[in-house]
Amino acid sequence: MKFELAGAPHQPPAASVGGVMRQVLYALVPAVAAHVWFFGYGILFQIALAVGFAVAFEAIMLKLRDRPIGLFLSDWSAVVTGVLFALCMPPLAPWWIAAVGMLFAIVIAKQLYGGLGYNLFNPAMVGFAAVIIAFPLELSQWLLPRSLSPGLPGLLETAQAVFTGRLPATLDWDSVTGATPLDQLRTGVRENLLVTEVRSAPIFGDFGGRGWEWIANFYALGGIYLLWKRVISWHVPVAVIATTVMISMPLWLFGPDTNPSPAQHIFSGALVLAAFFIATDPVSGCSTSKGKLVFGAGVAILTLVIRRWGGYPDGVAFAVLLMNMGAPLIDRLTRPRTYGH
């Protein structure tokens, strides 16, 4: 009898890239649901647009690069990029924002660097950075959460806003949109208001912003699912959140009037999302345990620095991109000692 020759190990593979990416998508479902509850259907349009453009650009680029299209589309990585990008978009952002974002994310940051596994930067964050630099106005128009809004736009109204840029006569931009809590806090502190004064505005909840804090909780829930499924390791999320607490806590204790509390930092903006879903991107991040701790701490520090002194209310995207630059070096410097050396 003849048998096949193959190298060890002789067992079915435990996981696949596509499987890992799908787990990430499952983990995001609760947060997306919460998002819809608090801010309406906009997020679903953003996801559909970003995923559509991401997959289309990926397919075109694979074709141009003469790579197997089916194989690489079935790895779900373009979908994950699209979804993560969409989660950072204002719900009513015009459709072409997603197109520009995915052009930068998929075509430039990913495929031109060699495709899956070869990108140096987190594609979703490259896309986000590109559109927030290019279109600051469109990206500042956030909807007010359900409890503060005179009425969230319905499905058709959302579609009209996203595709035409106009809201129906029943709603006007100024009443349904506002600055994000982080933006409001930042502006307030710069105008010499006390943090407590700023926080007395209705948009703030117990920890972060109304609605925002709940979405952050659901991101954390999804993150715990990923930890349980061993899709991510604890190092990056713990490093991001612990570092945020460690740095913001003393500042807050000694200057509570000018510095937001650690809870405010964690539960506003994209920090929890970044901690579990963005800074944990394996391709552009670190792979050693110590390296992941350094990477996560770096993301947290840079986020706080940008929030405090930078030009943008939230700094997570830029923090992740800056740390992406350092990731290979960090991995090199945190290389574990080989057995017996």
């Binding site: 009898m1 048998f3 020759l5 190298g7 190990p9 394996p282 574990p336 057995y339």
Partner: protein, 509 residues
């Protein structure tokens, strides 16, 4: 030297995998001797090192225990006839190494009478010198039975002033292999006695038997046997965690002592030496009964085997014979493996014979091996880093080897890879990582050889240049000498001229 004794505390080693075990299926029945096969194929090289010279030829009648090849230094281990019969021929026969290749084998047709040569045990081994014991084990054909087949005498002999402990490796971490477990269940006392003999031969004070924490029966039997032998003081039984690759020599030492064998050193540097439990039992048979190593327990198992079980098998028995003895193949077998699924070798044929290191024949169906999945690019997920027991960066090594940057791979300690397969088992991109490392290591060895060859060639070239230069110089010297010689006639002409001048002068005057 630092005292390194396997203590009471069991340590964890980095990485590793918790695997589902399938040993029970082969452990249901006691170890059985299969029927005598028609032919035995005794490979003349079954260990690391070189084969001895053939002592038999076609048509020779041999008796069981008779040496078929000669013993040389410690790396030339003799092979013995497993039973009596006639040498049919000596030929190239399919072998596990190299994969798909052949090895020289002695074909023995058993006569069924099992007549033995006279067995010569070592009288009073307790007082025999280590040298005598090691020589005896060497002559008895002992090589490591855990799979690596390192010559036992070579491991024992040496100037190891600090050697304190012989560790018997009973931690069988591959999910299907059960031969060592069955051996310890059925021959617990022999294993302990063998361990004491190995300790005496190595000049060590004590024996530590390492078993996995799930081997409850083995633990009881070993304890009872130790008591029966009155060896409580010198024999320790330690349970280690059931984590693959716990049975790897270096991982086992780390688990028992918490210390790492230096990358350029040997376990002996830590005062320990590791032998497989089956090697210990074989040492006992050789010393107490004078029986050379001619048989071993082989697990025949897997979903593709009708009646999985353990066989006490003569060396040289074809795997096909064992499979038949186990009821034959149950399902279409896609892969036949020597060893376990994690680090075993896929076999091209079941005509391959049992050697001293054959612990398990595993027949897997397509369900367990899965049709080859497409390889995706590495996404740097770090799973391989997490499970690597050598604390390497497997994904970095992969990228460096792929880029043919082997010098950098060597800097990242490629040579410290133990090829356990954990990284490849968890890789979501299905990259055959171990294949890359083997290729990289081979390539490094080849380059080292090439460099040595280049150095030799350079020396030869320089020697030639030097010789040519010397010859040229000699030629020049000779020419000069010749020219000198030729100048002399000129002188003579001058003299003639002078004489003519003188004559002319004389005429004038």
């Amino acid at each position: 030297m630092v005292e390194a004794l396997p203590g009471d505390r069991i340590h964890a080693f980095p990485g590793g995998l918790k695997l589902r075990h399938h040993k029970a299926v082969a452990c249901e029945h006691p170890v059985k001797r299969p029927a005598l096969p028609d032919r035995l194929y005794i490979q003349i090289l079954q260990h690391q090192g070189e084969s001895g010279e053939l002592l038999v030829t076609d048509g020779d009648r041999v008796r069981a225990g008779q040496a078929l090849t000669s013993a040389g230094d410690d790396f030339i281990v003799p092979e013995h006839a497993p039973t009596s019969g006639t040498i049919e021929t000596i030929t190239d026969h399919p072998a596990a190494f190299p994969p798909g290749g052949t090895q020289r084998a002695i074909v023995l047709v058993p006569d069924g009478r099992d007549e033995w040569v006279e067995c010569r045990p070592v009288a009073d081994w307790h007082n025999a010198s280590p040298g005598t014991l090691i020589d005896h084990l060497h002559q008895s054909g002992l090589a490591g039975m855990g799979g690596a087949m390192f010559p036992t005498a070579a491991k024992l002999r040496g100037d190891w002033p600090q050697l304190r402990t012989v560790i018997l490796n009973g931690a069988e971490c591959e999910p299907w292999i059960a031969c060592d477990e069955m051996l310890m269940r059925e021959r617990a006392q022999d294993v302990i006695e063998g361990g004491l003999i190995l300790a005496r031969a190595a000049g060590a004070e004590r024996v530590v038997i390492a078993i996995e924490d799930r081997m409850g029966v083995v633990d009881d039997r070993l304890r009872a046997a130790r008591q029966a032998l009155g060896a409580e003081d010198s024999v320790r039984i330690r349970k280690v965690f059931t984590v693959y690759p716990e049975g790897g020599e270096r991982q086992l030492i780390q688990a028992l002592t918490g210390r790492e064998v230096p990358h350029d050193g040997l376990p002996q540097d830590l005062g320990v030496v590791v032998h497989n439990v089956a090697t210990a039992a074989a040492a006992r048979d050789a010393v107490l009964e004078g029986r050379p190593l001619i048989e071993r327990i082989v697990t025949v198992t897997g979903p593709g085997i009708a009646q999985p079980r353990n066989f006490l098998t003569l060396i040289g028995t074809p795997f096909s014979h064992l499979v038949d003895s186990a009821g034959g193949y149950a399902e279409p077998v896609s892969r036949l493996i020597l060893g376990g699924p994690m680090s075993g070798t896929a076999l091209a044929s079941d005509a391959i014979p049992v050697t001293k290191g054959s612990n398990c024949i595993l027949a897997l169906t397509e369900r367990e091996t899965a049709p080859t999945q497409p390889t995706m690019p590495c996404i740097n997920c770090g799973e391989c880093v997490r499970v690597c027991p050598a604390r390497l960066l497997p994904q970095t090594l992969f990228r460096l080897i792929e880029a043919e940057n082997l010098d950098a791979a060597a800097d990242y300690d490629l040579s410290d890879c133990i090829e356990c397969g954990c990284c490849a088992a968890v890789c979501p991109s299905h990259i055959p990582l171990v294949d890359y490392y083997r290729h990289g290591k081979d390539e490094l060895v080849r380059r080292r050889l090439d460099r040595r060859r280049a150095a030799l060639a350079k020396r030869r070239y320089e020697a030639r240049e030097e010789r040519l230069a010397r010859q040229k110089a000699e030629r020049q010297a000779r020419r000069k000498a010749r020219e000198e010689k030729l100048k002399r006639p000129e002188k003579a002409q001058d003299e003639i001229q002078a004489a003519i001048e003188r004559a002319k002068q004389n005429k004038k005057t």
